[in-house]
């Protein structure tokens, strides 16, 4: 798979250069050096996180877009359905197989990045860092799993693989790029702001915008990774002075960080489950004829 290769190579390369950059400049100042490997970029190459959030959907779509309608056009779907197996076995198998592929792939890339960095920097992650990295891994898998589920859903609903592929990609482009513009426009319409607007209105504007942005799984993944990989983050969006009062800027514990991004996690899981449930229903009720 070409995409996997791209992600592996760029992921490795960026972690390599990132570790180089870290080694020179921030070695002493960073508390969670290991986690930074996944988010920091170096030498003009984007970070691993960027690659996952950008290419992950593409990977998920490639794995799922012709899951059902591809078998249908090849005539193998009616072959399998005429064997004594329940239909849900087929659809469950499709989901499990693609999620397992995604998980194995992301895990191996992350382990490679970690390995190279440990060898190069000599920094051994502590228990908490490993836990955070694991949760980040789960989030990445969930993120790609959502796109796979969506692609499988489209592959059930649409008769042609080309249609389902195009639909998935269109939705991906919308959620990855256009959602920023649209969120901005809607927020501007609802809470028009000028340079003289009072902070309350600015805050409302900003929170509506982030709310809308969170419809995009990419934004959810971004927020999750920020909170997980950067233990000092405790809140998203605008902060008020009252919130900052008496704040001691120490890193949060793992539990606290998870608490911060719990809603985002749940949203990602829910999105995948909804896609799966709809696909399941659609597939069970579909009449399969040869074409």
């Amino acid at each position: 798979m070409l995409i996997t290769l791209i992600i592996v190579i760029t992921g490795l390369f960026s972690s390599y250069t990132a570790s180089g950059a870290l080694g020179e400049e921030q070695f002493l100042s960073e508390e969670y050096l290991f986690l930074n490997l996944f988010t920091s970029a170096g030498g003009g190459l984007p970070s691993f996180l960027f690659f996952i959030s950008f290419f992950g959907p593409l990977l998920g779509i490639i794995l799922g877009f012709d899951a059902i309608n591809g078998e249908r056009t090849r005539g193998t779907l009616s072959l399998i359905l005429s064997q004594p197996v329940y239909r849900d076995v087929i659809i469950n198998g499709k989901f499990l197989a693609s999620i397992a592929t995604v998980a194995i792939m992301i895990a191996s890339i992350m382990v490679m990045i970690a390995g190279i960095s440990i060898a190069k920097l000599g920094v051994v992650p502590n228990g908490q860092e490993v836990m955070r990295a694991l949760l980040f891994f789960v989030a990445c898998v969930l993120y790609v799993a959502f796109w796979t589920s969506l692609a499988i859903l489209f592959s059930i609903v649409f008769e042609k693989s080309s249609t389902s592929a195009l639909m998935s990609i269109a939705l991906w482009i919308f959620l990855a790029f256009f959602v920023y513009m649209i969120a901005g426009v809607i927020a501007d319409e609802v809470y028009p702001i000028t340079q003289q607007s009072d902070p309350e209105l600015l805050a409302k504007h900003e929170s509506l915008r982030t709310m809308l942005l969170r419809f995009s799984p990419a934004v959810l993944l971004e927020e999750i990774s920020i909170a997980l990989l950067n233990p000092t983050v405790r809140v998203f969006g605008p902060m008020f002075e009252s919130q900052l009062k008496g704040l001691i800027l120490t890193p949060l514990s793992l539990g606290q960080s998870v608490l911060v991004i719990w809603p985002q996690f749940v949203a990602l899981i829910a999105a995948s489950i909804v896609c799966f449930a709809v696909s399941y229903l659609a597939f069970m009720r579909k009449e399969i004829r040869s074409v």
Partner: protein, 310 residues
């Protein structure tokens, strides 16, 4: 006779359109039943209902006593279904494809491997079993399809358009296999087709479907008699002088229904069942038959007759 398939008053609606309208038939053990009709007559829908892959709007189906809607797995275990345009995994060999299907049927690997060689030998693909299916011709694929239904030792085999799109030699092989499955293995076969001539060769009984209804059912003879009336043969005769005198010489032969002169020959229509006697008598009286056509009922005629009337 054991009844393997029993369908009663099957009805299937699609958004207000009645695709199958009150179809009833039964198939006995070891019998080949042909489901005929033009495209869109409801043949495939009927088949899907027999397999429990589509739920009938109303009506009852029993396959060896099982209800396919409620116990689809039991029905599929004893029924081999070869869909129209069946596909196999092209990047696997024939053997691997069959092994996969055998596993889906819960057959153990060592038993399956033996069975696979056996069925591949039956369909004549044993020597190409380790080639990728992607390299197979359409006729070979269809025979592989027949192998795939045989692997589970079926009681009933349902074939949807089994000969569509393959060359005459391939068709002959497929038809021969179908015949052998029924005669040697005692499998009941239900096949659907719009290719009448082929069905006529292998089917014990046929049912003709048109616009969702089963318009006629029985052996091809029975249907022919129902639709086209009594059989009539035609012969062309020559005689030394062809004139009204000669025509009179044919008087008194029993079974001749019509005689006339056309294009310098005598054309005689007669009762098909007495063909031999009539021909002998005609020759005795000095006529020379140049063409004797006993008329068989061809499905084509039956078909056309039906569909012209609508």
């Amino acid at each position: 006779m054991n009844v393997v398939v029993e369908a009663q008053d099957l009805v299937r609606d699609y958004n207000g359109f009645r695709a199958v309208n009150g179809v009833s038939f039964s198939v006995a053990q070891g019998e080949i039943f042909g489901l005929l009709g033009p495209n869109g007559a409801g043949k495939t829908t009927t088949i899907l209902m027999l397999l429990g892959m589509t739920e009938p709007t109303s009506g009852v189906v029993r396959i060896c006593g099982y209800d396919p809607t409620k116990e689809p797995l039991k029905v599929k275990r004893i029924t081999g279904y070869l869909p129209e345009n069946v596909g196999f995994y092209e990047d696997l060999t024939a053997k691997e494809n069959l092994l996969y299907l055998a596993k889906l049927n819960g057959i153990k690997e060592d038993v399956a491997l033996k069975k696979i060689d056996e069925v591949l030998a039956t369909v004549g693909l044993l020597d190409v079993r380790d080639k990728l299916v992607g390299t197979y011709s359409k006729g070979m694929r269809q025979r592989l399809g027949l192998a795939s239904v045989l692997i589970k030792d079926p009681k009933l085999v349902i074939l949807d358009e089994p000969t569509t799109g393959i060359d005459p030699e391939g068709t002959e092989q497929v038809l021969d296999l179908i015949r052998r499955m029924s005669r040697e293995m005692g499998v009941s076969i239900l096949l659907s087709s719009h290719l009448l001539y082929q069905v006529q060769q292998v089917c014990d009984r046929v049912g003709i479907m048109f616009k969702g209804k089963m318009v006629a059912q029985g052996s091809i003879e029975d249907i022919g008699r129902q639709v086209l009336g009594e059989r009539e043969g035609v012969m062309k005769l020559t005689y030394s002088f062809i004139n009204e005198e000669a025509l009179k010489k044919l008087d008194g032969i029993e079974g001749i229904t019509e005689k006339r002169i056309a294009n310098n020959t005598i054309i005689v229509k007669f009762d098909e069942t007495r063909k031999l006697d009539i021909v002998r008598e005609v020759v005795m009286r000095g006529f020379l038959p140049i063409e004797v056509k006993g008329k068989e009922y061809s499905l084509e005629e039956i078909y056309i007759r039906y569909f012209r009337e609508g």
